[in-house]
C-alpha cells in the first residue's frame, strides 16, 4: 500500500483552534505525525515585561479563555511569594471556589466537544446546556462568562455574602442530576463506546516518559495532581479524590473529566461550608521587591508553572510559564500511531489541547 502525507490544519473543520498536523498515512492508518505550532503566537511573554504588575493580571487572564483563572491565580501567587505577602484565609477559599468553577466549565466543554466529535450532537447540546448553569453562575457572581477577574495581588475582587453562597449552592445542586445522567450515558451508550474505547491509547509508561500532566496523564493511570502533590491555598484541608483510570484511551480521558467535575462540585460545597469570615484583600497596594519565585497550580488541563523575576520596579523583569498543553501535545504521537484517519480529530480533542496557552 502506498504512503501519503496529509495535512490537517492549521484551519480545519474538525479542529477548534489552529494547529498544523502533518499526518503520514498508509491507506487509512496513521503511521507518523509531525506537529507544527506558531499560528496564534502573540508574544505575550514580551508584552508582560512592558506592563506593570497589576495590568499583567488582566493580560495573563487573557492568555486562554478556558483556563483564564489559573493564569492570574498562579501569577498572583508568584508575586505574593516574592513580596512575602500572606493573604487572608477567606481569600484562599474564594480563590479555590473561582478556580473550581472554571474547572467545571472547562471540563464540561471538553466532554461536550468529545460527543460532538463522535457525531453525537444531541448529547453535545445537553452537556453544553448543563455547562450553561456554570456560565450563568460566573456571570452572576463574577460579572463575566469567561474572564472572572477574581484575583488581585494580595486578595480577590469578589465576595460571597449569604445570598451569593445560597445562589452558588443552588446552582451546584442543579448540576448534580444531569451529571449523573451523563455519567451513565457516557459509560453505557453503544455508539459512544464504539468510537472511544481502545482509541488513541496512551500507555502509562509513555505518559511518564513524555511528562504528560493533568486529566490526560491521570487517564493513563498516573496519579499526579498538583492540588494533592504540592497543595497550595487550602487544598490540603479539602476532601477530594484524585481520579485515575488505567486504559489511557479517549473514553478514559472523557470519564476522568466527567468525574473531576463531580469532585469540583464537592470541593466548592466544602468551601461554602468552611469559609471563614474576614477581609477579601490585604489593605495597601503592595510594593514588590526584587526577587524570583515559582508558583504551581493544577489548571483544568494539568500542572501550570509560573516563573517570575522582579527587579524592584513595577514591571516584571521576566515572566515565563509552562502550560500543561505544552507537554500533552507530545502524547499525540503515541496516541495516533496506528489510528484511523477518521479518529484524528477525536484524539486531538481528547487531550483537550489549548493552543492559545501553548503559543501565547
Amino acid at each position: 500500500m502506498s504512503t501519503y502525507k496529509i495535512p490537517v490544519g492549521p484551519l480545519h473543520v474538525a479542529l477548534e483552534e489552529p494547529m498544523y498536523f502533518k499526518v503520514e498515512v498508509e491507506g487509512e492508518t496513521v503511521t507518523g505525525l509531525d506537529i507544527q505550532a506558531g499560528h496564534v503566537h502573540r508574544g505575550i511573554e514580551y508584552l508582560v515585561a512592558k506592563r506593570n504588575i497589576h495590568q499583567n493580571i488582566v493580560l495573563t487572564e487573557r492568555i486562554c479563555s478556558l483556563c483564564s483563572n489559573s493564569h492570574p491565580f498562579s501569577y498572583c501567587m508568584a508575586l505574593e511569594r516574592i513580596g512575602g505577602i500572606i493573604v487572608p484565609e477567606r481569600v484562599e477559599y474564594l480563590r479555590v471556589v473561582a478556580d473550581e468553577i472554571k474547572r467545571i466549565a472547562s471540563h464540561l466543554f471538553n466532554v461536550a466537544i468529545t460527543a460532538h466529535l463522535v457525531g453525537f450532537d444531541t448529547l453535545f447540546m445537553q452537556v453544553m446546556e448543563t455547562r450553561e448553569i456554570m456560565q450563568d453562575t460566573k456571570e452572576t457572581i463574577f460579572g463575566n462568562r469567561m474572564d472572572l477577574g477574581a484575583n488581585r495581588i494580595g486578595g480577590v475582587r469578589y465576595d460571597l455574602d449569604g445570598e451569593g453562597k445560597a445562589y452558588l449552592a443552588a446552582q451546584l445542586a442543579r448540576m448534580k442530576a444531569p451529571l449523573d445522567e451523563f455519567r451513565d450515558l457516557y459509560e453505557t451508550n453503544g455508539s459512544f463506546l464504539r468510537r472511544t474505547k481502545g482509541v488513541g491509547v496512551l500507555p502509562r509508561a509513555d505518559a511518564i516518559r513524555l511528562g504528560l500532566v493533568g486529566p490526560v496523564a491521570r487517564a493513563s493511570g498516573v496519579d499526579y495532581d498538583v492540588r494533592r502533590k504540592a497543595p497550595y491555598v487550602v487544598y490540603d484541608r479539602l476532601d477530594f479524590d484524585v481520579q485515575t483510570l488505567a486504559d489511557g484511551d479517549v473514553w478514559s480521558r472523557t470519564m476522568i473529566r466527567l468525574r473531576e467535575v463531580k469532585e469540583s462540585v464537592r470541593i466548592i460545597e466544602q468551601c461554602l461550608r468552611d469559609i471563614p469570615e474576614g477581609p477579601i484583600s490585604i489593605d495597601a497596594i503592595p510594593e514588590i521587591p526584587a526577587g524570583e519565585a515559582i508558583a504551581k497550580s493544577e489548571a483544568p488541563r494539568g500542572e501550570l508553572i509560573y516563573y517570575l523575576r522582579t527587579d524592584g520596579s513595577d514591571k516584571p523583569a521576566r515572566l515565563k510559564w509552562r502550560v500543561p498543553s505544552y507537554n500533552n501535545w507530545k502524547g499525540l504521537q503515541v496516541m495516533m500511531a496506528g489510528c484511523k484517519v477518521a479518529d484524528i480529530a477525536l484524539i486531538v480533542g481528547s487531550i483537550d489541547p489549548c493552543i492559545s496557552c501553548t503559543e501565547r
Binding site: 488582566v58 457572581i141 477577574g149
Partner: protein, 170 residues
C-alpha cells in the same frame, strides 16, 4: 434512548433554552462588568486609572482649563481595574452591555469630559479638584459644610487649616 425521551418531552413543553434576544430580554446580572461610566464631578485627576488600564483605553489630554478624560469603549476590555483602583468613585462598572454601533460611529463610542482645574479659595493658586467622595474618605467624621470649605482649598492651605494649633494634641 431512555435518557432522551424525558429530555425531548421537557424541551417540547419548555421551549428553547436559548434567550430570545433581540426579540426578548437577555438576562443581565447586576454585577455584569460592562460599559464603564465616568463621573467628572468625582474625579480628582490623579490619573491612576490611566496608569492601571491594561488596554490603554483611558487617556488624558491637556486643555487650557483642565484635563480632558477619554475612555474609548472600543479599546476597553471590561476588566474593571480602573473602577477598582479609583479612590474617588469617579469610575464605575455598569451592567449596560449595549455597545453595538455602526462602523461609522466607532470614534463616537467614548466617555469624554473635561475636568476643570480650580482656584484655591484661600491663596488663589490653581489646584486640582478635590471631589467629595475622596475628601469624605480623607476626613472621616467631619461635618459636610467643613468638608465643602476644605475641598475648595489647595492641599497646602488645607494642611495649614487642619494642622493642630500649637499646644493642642493632634
Amino acid at each position: 434512548m431512555s435518557f432522551f425521551l424525558p429530555v425531548l418531552l421537557r424541551n417540547l413543553l419548555k421551549g428553547p433554552s436559548t434567550e430570545a434576544f433581540p426579540f426578548g430580554e437577555a438576562i443581565t446580572p447586576k454585577k455584569l462588568r460592562a460599559r464603564i461610566s465616568f463621573d467628572p464631578d468625582s474625579c480628582a485627576l490623579c490619573r491612576v486609572c490611566a496608569r492601571i488600564c491594561p488596554a490603554g483605553a483611558i487617556q488624558f489630554e491637556k486643555k487650557p482649563d483642565g484635563l480632558e478624560f477619554n475612555l474609548w469603549h472600543n479599546a476597553c476590555v471590561f476588566c474593571g481595574l480602573c473602577a477598582l483602583y479609583c479612590e474617588s468613585e469617579g469610575l464605575h462598572s455598569t451592567n449596560d452591555w449595549h455597545l453595538s454601533h455602526l462602523q461609522s460611529e466607532k470614534y463616537d463610542l467614548v466617555e469624554r469630559a473635561t475636568v476643570k482645574f480650580q482656584k484655591c479659595t484661600k491663596c488663589g493658586k490653581q489646584k486640582m479638584p478635590a471631589p467629595l467622595p475622596l475628601m469624605a474618605k480623607l476626613y472621616p467624621g467631619l461635618p459636610a459644610d467643613e468638608i465643602e470649605r476644605l475641598r475648595a482649598m489647595c492641599p497646602q492651605c488645607r494642611k495649614a487649616e487642619t494642622a493642630p494649633a500649637e499646644g493642642e494634641p493632634s
